[in-house]
């Protein structure tokens, strides 16, 4: 069963004085099945981040619909959007987006506190998660006191602690060194194997090569997609590279 369904999604930005219109997304269609790990690839400016913002209901589409687990996000009243977002979605960002006024522990608790859970339950949820992510010794530290990789793992913990239906990641490896990148990607793969659905926006071939499916976006449309099938990461990596070359040299969709 599909957990995410995107139909004819369109987003047009109008400049401040309404004189110019930029079409960020023209006609995007795809579905994500439960338990899938989908990477969305594209050049900068291809509309990746716009797409992610629409999936996260941070922005309203100009046309088309996003159905998450059968719920049309655009029909949700404004006041429910935020609670929907923190209940059903988990986010991992390139810049971590941890609040520097909180310890890692409190950053991870944030969505649960907002949902009004009690402290005992929160602690019970955090304990195994933190151990699994290898940050159990860092919980009392502040974001600026730990490394980028550790920050990103805390951000992953924050995204997962609500048990979201969908994990959205926006260039999660963009600000990490290569070792931390490897660690994070294997972590994502592990998360995915435990049944978590992931949609990740990236332009890193390496990151995308860990996914089970790769979508390519060009000029506001889904241009192509690759399935992993039985490929290893290395094989998928090669296929992605080839596709990107075709994209860059201006090939047409087959």
């Amino acid at each position: 069963m599909s957990i995410l369904e995107v139909r004819d999604l369109k987003k047009v930005y109008t400049s401040r004085f309404g004189t110019q219109q930029v079409e960020a997304l023209r006609r995007v269609n795809f579905t994500v099945e439960k338990g899938e790990y989908v990477a969305v690839m594209g050049e900068s400016g291809s509309g990746k981040t716009t797409l992610l913002n629409l999936l996260a209901a941070l922005d309203k589409p100009t046309g088309g619909t996003v159905l998450l687990d059968g719920v049309d996000l655009s029909t949700l009243p404004e006041k429910d959007v935020a609670s929907f977002r923190r209940g059903q979605l988990g986010f991992v960002f390139q810049e971590f987006n941890l609040l520097d006024t909180f310890t890692l522990e409190d950053n991870i608790y944030l969505p649960l506190v907002l949902a009004g859970r009690n402290h005992k339950e929160m602690a019970e949820r955090l304990e195994p998660l933190a151990r699994w992510l290898g940050i159990d010794g860092l919980l009392k530290k502040y974001p600026y006191e730990v490394s980028g990789g550790q920050k990103q793992r805390a951000a992953v913990a924050r995204a997962l602690i609500t048990d979201p239906k969908l994990l959205l990641a926006d260039e999660p490896t963009g600000a990490l060194d290569s070792r931390s990148t490897d660690e994070l990607l294997s972590l994502f793969a592990q998360v995915n194997r435990s049944g978590q659905t992931i949609v990740m926006v990236t332009h890193s071939v390496k990151a995308a090569s860990h996914a089970t499916r790769v979508l390519f976006i060009r000029d506001g449309e889904v241009f192509h997609q690759l399935y992993r099938g039985k490929d290893t990461n290395e094989q998928l990596y090669q296929k992605i590279s080839d596709t990107l070359t075709v994209l860059a040299t201006g090939g047409e969709a087959r």
Binding site: A56, A82, S83, R86, G87, G116, H119, R158
Partner: protein
């Protein structure tokens, strides 16, 4: 390089940062203006030629010094704030290939431009407003003046010199700052990771204890004169405690709240408490400064306002009659009814028969140390010199021996010789006898509830006993003889015959003329041989009135001017706080939204923090004001104003007015904050 390049860069930089520079220039200009106004008023011919003008000059010069010192400190503070904000820009220039010499030239131009704009602007404002200020001041002192506008070259020169020096100093400080910095530091200085706030229990506790001790001192001070230095100690303690509490105490409180997991992990408290800790760590010093400025404004305005508005009452206390003339005698036996009659006739002639309520009193008065019904005269003058402790002051008494026969007193039993009736300005006389050193003990057989004449507030500063004696001449003689044997000039009792009268319906000028004529007549009489008295003093309300109002009017005026300066400074601090808060919250806003807070939740969390941050100083200053109240009350009593209701009224009114103004500033500056935060919105 092209001519004027650096000037253009400097001007550009200031224009781009006008949100920071405009208020800065306005404040500088305001300081210049206030300095000029006070300084030129101090030397204004209109002020110097008026009655009591010299007092006023001194008060105004003191005010000028306060403004000058404050301007120096405050401009240093704002300048460092501006520099922090501009470091990034300089870092960029530096990376683009400008060396420190080039940067220094930009800085120099910036300082020159700021100096010129603010000094010239301030002087123009000062020239325009100084006449208005002069009119206000002179009206407050109860006089009138012409409307001609004067330009005081000397004041202009002084203002230029002083503020020129301040700006030169600011430039030096900025140059030193650029000199020791590294380009990358400049570039990164704003993004540098911030250490999380740590609770400092010791400092918080010290602050709390200091505040408690200071409050205790302020409330328990008995006599404001002798304990003036204790009060200053208390003021210093309050200042230190305020800084400690705002810097360390607030963070500690937040940490304490965070420890309470049940309280902390609630959506209403979670974000607020943790970001509050950070906010207080950054803003503690600024908020403490606001609090102290606010307290100064409140204490200054409420006390000087009370002095001014309570003036009439005070004068009535200090001069219960329109005119008082006292003839002094070498000894009690020299007193005679004849001299008094002569004086009364003189008064009648000089006032053209318009004197009313004329009354004469003969008395011998002296002071001593009182304990268990006996009055120690020996060493009284020595006690006066060393009397620093309230416990000594409590025992001091001034005693008036009055002839019973001169008054028509209501009493159950007429005293016999050796007995007396006593009136007390404080609690009723508690003993059966009054044993004055060197004098036969007097049996007190009754108390007088109402004195037939009025003593001045000065005469009742220490508790006064009026003793009505049937055998006055004998008793007074005994005291006189005993004191003379002490061979102490200071210990000699004062023998006087006093004549009080009112001059209703006469203008102040006419009253002054009457007393002047009276003084002249008495001076003439001094030349003659056949008079029994040795000297005279006069006390007229009209004269007191003008000197009192020139003093209290100028104090109140100064209070208002300094309040304006301090309030403007507080407003600027608030404004800069809002700006820096805005820049920091911009980013946080975005993150919180992404992890699932609604816009409204964020806004209410931020609102509550910002409100707390801005109104904590106001509440704290209200508390300070309340604890300073007993001291202020005692202090203004020294000036002769003892109207407690009036002081409460002025304090409350000042607090309300200041609060209103504070809310106004807060709301205006909140707009700047919202503008910055929503800028961030657009960028996302």
């Amino acid at each position: 390089m092209k001519k004027g390049f650096y000037l253009r860069l400097a001007l550009d930089g200031m224009r781009k940062n006008r949100r920071l520079y405009l208020p800065y220039l306005l404040t500088c200009g305001g300081m210049v203006m206030m300095f000029y106004i006070l300084y030129s008023l101090a030397y204004s011919p209109a002020v110097q030629t008026m009655r009591g003008g010299s007092t006023m000059t001194v008060v105004l010069l003191l005010g000028t010094i306060v403004v000058a010192v404050f301007a120096l400190l405050f401009l240093l503070y704002t300048n460092s704030f501006l520099a922090k904000r501009r470091n990034r820009e300089f870092g960029l220039y530096n990376v683009l290939g400008m060396n420190k010499r080039n940067l220094s030239r930009i800085l120099a131009w910036e300082t020159v431009v700021s100096a010129l704009v603010s000094i010239l602007g301030g002087l123009i404002g000062g020239l325009l407003l100084s006449k208005l200020a002069e009119l206000c001041l002179i009206r407050m002192a109860g006089e009138r003046t012409g409307y001609a506008i004067t330009v005081a070259p000397r004041s202009i020169a002084a203002t230029f010199l002083f503020f020129g020096a301040i700006f030169a100093l600011l430039l030096l400080v900025s140059l030193a700052r650029v000199g020791i910095s590294k380009p990358l530091d400049l570039l990164k200085s704003e993004a540098a990771g911030e250490k999380p706030p740590r609770a400092n229990w010791v400092l918080a506790l010290v602050g709390l204890l200091l505040l408690g001790a200071a409050y205790y001192l302020a409330v328990t001070i008995e006599s404001p004169l002798t304990a003036l230095f204790i009060f200053f100690a208390a003021v210093l303690m309050v200042i230190v405690a305020t800084y400690l509490l705002f810097i360390a105490g607030s963070v500690t409180l937040c940490k304490l709240l965070q420890r309470n997991k049940r309280y902390y992990y609630k959506s209403a408290h979670f974000v607020s408490v943790s970001s509050m800790a950070f906010r207080m760590k950054r803003n503690g010093a600024g908020l403490a400064s606001i609090c102290i400025l606010a307290t100064m404004v409140l204490v200054m305005l409420s006390s000087t306002g009370c002095l001014y508005f309570g003036g009439e009452d005070a004068i009535r206390g200090m001069a219960p009659y329109d005119v008082t003339v006292a003839l002094r005698y070498a000894a009690p036996e020299a007193c005679s009814g004849e001299a008094l009659r002569e004086l009364a006739d003189l008064v009648h002639d000089l006032s053209g028969g318009r004197e009313k309520n004329l009354m004469t009193v003969t008395d011998v008065n002296f002071g001593g140390y009182f304990e268990n019904g006996s009055l120690d005269l020996d060493g009284y003058s020595r006690i006066l010199e060393i009397s620093s402790s309230p416990s000594v002051l409590e025992h001091l008494r001034s005693v008036y021996f009055l002839p019973l026969e001169d008054f028509d007193l209501e009493t159950d039993r007429q005293p016999e010789p050796g007995e007396a009736l006593v009136w007390s300005s404080g609690a009723a006389y508690p003993y059966d006898t009054l044993a004055v050193e060197g004098c036969t003990p007097i049996r007190v057989v009754g108390t007088v509830r109402e004195l037939p004449f009025r003593l001045t507030t000065e005469e009742t500063l220490v508790t006064a006993y009026c003793v009505f004696l049937p055998d006055w001449a004998e008793r007074a003689g005994e005291v006189q003889n005993y004191c003379a044997s002490l061979e102490d000039e200071m210990a000699l009792p004062e023998t006087v015959q006093v004549c009080f009268f009112d001059l209703p319906g006469l203008s102040e000028e006419e009253q002054l003329r009457v007393t002047e004529n009276l003084r002249q007549a008495l001076r003439d009489r001094m030349e003659e041989e056949d008079r029994a008295w040795t000297g005279f003093t006069t006390n007229d309300r009209a004269d007191l009135h003008s000197s009192f109002f020139s003093m209290n009017g100028s104090l109140f005026f100064l209070g208002i001017i300094l309040s304006i300066v301090f309030i403007a400074a507080a407003a600027l601090i608030i404004y800069y706080k809002q700006l820096s808060e805005g820049y920091e919250d911009q980013r946080r806003f975005g993150i919180m939204q992404k992890v699932g807070m609604t816009g409204r939740e964020i806004k209410s969390a931020v609102d509550s923090q910002v409100l707390t941050v801005f109104f904590a100083p106001l509440l704290m200053s209200g508390l300070h004001l309340a604890f300073a109240f007993p001291f202020v009350q005692k202090l203004i009593r020294l000036f002769g104003v003892s109207n407690t209701h009036l002081l409460i009224l002025t304090s409350v009114l000042c607090f309300l007015a200041f609060g209103l103004f504070y809310v106004f500033v807060y709301r205006r500056t909140a707009r700047a904050y919202i503008a910055i935060v929503s800028e961030g919105d657009e960028r996302r």
